[in-house]
Symmetry: D2
Subunit: 133 residues, 4 copies
């Protein structure tokens, strides 16, 4: 069990059934936030930065929404499923945009290849949660 | 003209028509993030904090998504309207939840009364932008 | 009185003397976060983005620490002056770095000129608060 | 090798010596941000929330500064060691405050016990990096 799942299961009003799914998705969001932060910075340092503008921008959006939704998923007090759904749809849109863009540069830039994979994992995790709530 | 609108208009690929609407909405999101941060903390310090749990939680969600979407709105490079829309829908859901909850305590807690107003202004600003893109 | 100061003054354990100083500094931090988000994105879209790499990076750091410290300043419950001081020192370092870099490009890029001014206002506001607590 | 270290090592201007130390510290910051988000929310849901006000507040500060510094550590372009140091000092102050407070409730609340451990790991990781740059 990860620390995140362990934390969610100590919540006084924790709903057992959900905790693993929420924990895994939150972890995927934070992993994605880290990866996209590093990818944006690596793109910025590339000689051909001029061709990576969209990649930097989409990475930055992805960081912001991943951190935001990651935190929303970690809160179990007064959770509103409808709002969680709207958040998941926003993060799915952002990680998809970012994955698609990173995939275009995956051959030339190792950081884009890895980051695209992390984004796709996050997308899958969010879709799984969206299907489960 | 606010500093934010001024900043957006100096962007090398700025689309004149949109800048004021985006700037106003981003400002409303950041104002809401500040107000909800302060409201969550004030609720926490109230004697009857036990009755304000949902308010604290919804305030915190609101802070996170408002900051996230506020930043997305300030980026004009490689903007994806579909993704902006998904972000706006998420922030609208969160500010509505928060406004509704704060309104329940507006009579007893001045911070909830003010915060509800700020959330409603942010909601209106987001709806206006959603209708305009 | 700004909304932020008004919010801080409704806190059940509010210390009258501090509220305006804290509110003004928090507002300056959030204004700076917005300005630096827009400046990073505008730099990214400039033809000579290759010469603006440091500017983008320092803008991004500035956004992160300004948002973080802005929120810390808005919390009055169990405030620890020593920790507030460490936060202010971090944000002062970051806004200074960013202002110095933006000032180098202020002649060529209007967004850097405005952003440098916003950073300097934030620096002054943080120094004033640091001197007052 | 973690994904984060792998990402940092694909940076075009990566300094081999530092990457593992920075990656580990960034991961510790993000793990701490997640743990403190969950702990704040669990405290909020406890029957005796009135005795956990300081814990919630210090958790929230910790989240903000951990995310902020975590991202700063992931950026290698135009890195300023002096500023990284100021950031590390701020995050160390915040995780210490949070760990000390969580330790007071570790016997009664499992989430505080786990969260205190995560904060202490983050503190150690930050001190190690501070000593190494």
């Amino acid at each position: 069990m990860t620390t995140t799942a362990e934390m969610l299961k100590t919540h006084p009003r924790q709903i057992e059934a959900d905790a693993d799914l929420f924990a895994q998705c939150a972890d995927a969001c934070f992993e994605c936030a880290e990866s996209c932060t590093a990818c944006a910075d690596a793109c910025l340092a590339e000689e051909q930065v001029g061709e990576l503008r969209a990649c930097v921008r989409l990475n930055l959006d992805c960081v912001d929404i991943c951190e935001s939704v990651g935190k929303v998923l970690l809160r179990q007090t007064a959770r509103k499923p409808e709002t969680v759904r709207a958040h998941l749809e926003a993060v799915i849109a952002a990680v998809r945009d970012c994955a698609e863009e990173c995939e275009l540069h995956a051959q030339q830039h190792e950081h884009c290849r890895i980051c695209a994979e992390v984004c796709r994992r996050c997308e899958q995790s969010c879709l799984r949660l969206l299907g489960g709530i």
